[in-house]
């Protein structure tokens, strides 16, 4: 293995583990019925939602090559599929991949 790549992987995993470990340590004194727990629950959901929205609207990587309207159309159509499939997670997910490839190729 190349030393630079191994160091980059180790640094990345350390930076990732740090947040997880600190969360596990500090959560020890928190009861699941407490207000602090409820607040952190809200923070977690809002943070994840923000991450998803940023990934769709301001993507990094290959998605940057897809137009804003195509990304948004695929997401909205997939959410529609999610509701009409009685909240099944697999159908809209597979649909989104096919839809993105088709829109990007033919439209």
């Amino acid at each position: 293995m190349s030393a630079n790549i191994v160091y980059a992987i180790l640094v990345t995993s350390l930076a990732t583990f740090l947040s997880r470990f600190l969360g596990a340590v500090t959560s020890q004194g928190i009861k699941e019925t407490s207000k602090l727990f409820k607040w952190f629950n809200c923070l977690a959901y809002a943070t994840l939602a923000a991450l998803i929205a940023r990934t769709i609207i301001f993507p990094a990587g290959i998605l940057m090559d897809a137009s804003y309207s195509s990304r948004l159309s695929v997401v909205l159509l997939s959410v529609f599929v999610f509701f009409i499939s009685k909240k099944n997670f697999v159908y809209p997910t597979i649909f989104s991949a096919i839809c993105m490839a088709v829109i990007n190729n033919y439209i």
Partner: protein, 234 residues
Amino acid sequence: MVSKKYYFKGYRSILTHDSPAIALTCCFIAIGALFKNLGFNIQESIFSTVLTYALPGSLVMAESMLIGASLLNIFLAVWFVNARLYPMAVSLFPLMMHKSQPKWKYYFSCHFIAVSAWLIMKSNYKKIPKEHRIDYWIGIGSATVSVSVIGTFIGFSFSEFLNKDMMMGLAILNPVYFLCMMVGAAKTIQITLSVVLGLILGPIIYLLSPEWSILLAGIIGGTVAYLLGEYNVS
């Protein structure tokens, strides 16, 4: 030690009809292909998936390496991006804490904190006795890591056959899957508001501060949702 019954129950939780396994595999197929394009070998790619096990962090590492960033820059960039794992851990571990369980299980299994595993645990924890939730969680984590490794291997091995359109399809799959899971989880006023505010504030704050946008949107959106929910209850 780990209860086999609950460990395998957790492991099997990804085999349901609406399992995250397909989406997760596809996301890591894209990561595997990306690693190969970056010059990683198969061992390094799998090593990275197992040790990091967080898609945004892996993407940031890959992008940072492309521009030749220093190790300190990679550390800080990944830390900022993955800081979301902190509130996720704090909002999950109290549900699994039990005095009969050794602390090493909690410290070891915090590595499995990632969106898919977290959402699966959040939807299923009530069905599991509190004493055994940590074993169930370790099962979920092992299953999702296994699937991620398989995805990385497939992506690395077949990267030459993945054209740009296919890579785009794989890339959009991850946010769509997480969005559907979050919409499905929004059953209370507080969670619904948290999701809606996070979705709105994330891109708006990104325009002002790209580095801090996710954390700030999470803190502001989550706090407003919490306060409105408490006010509504009272």
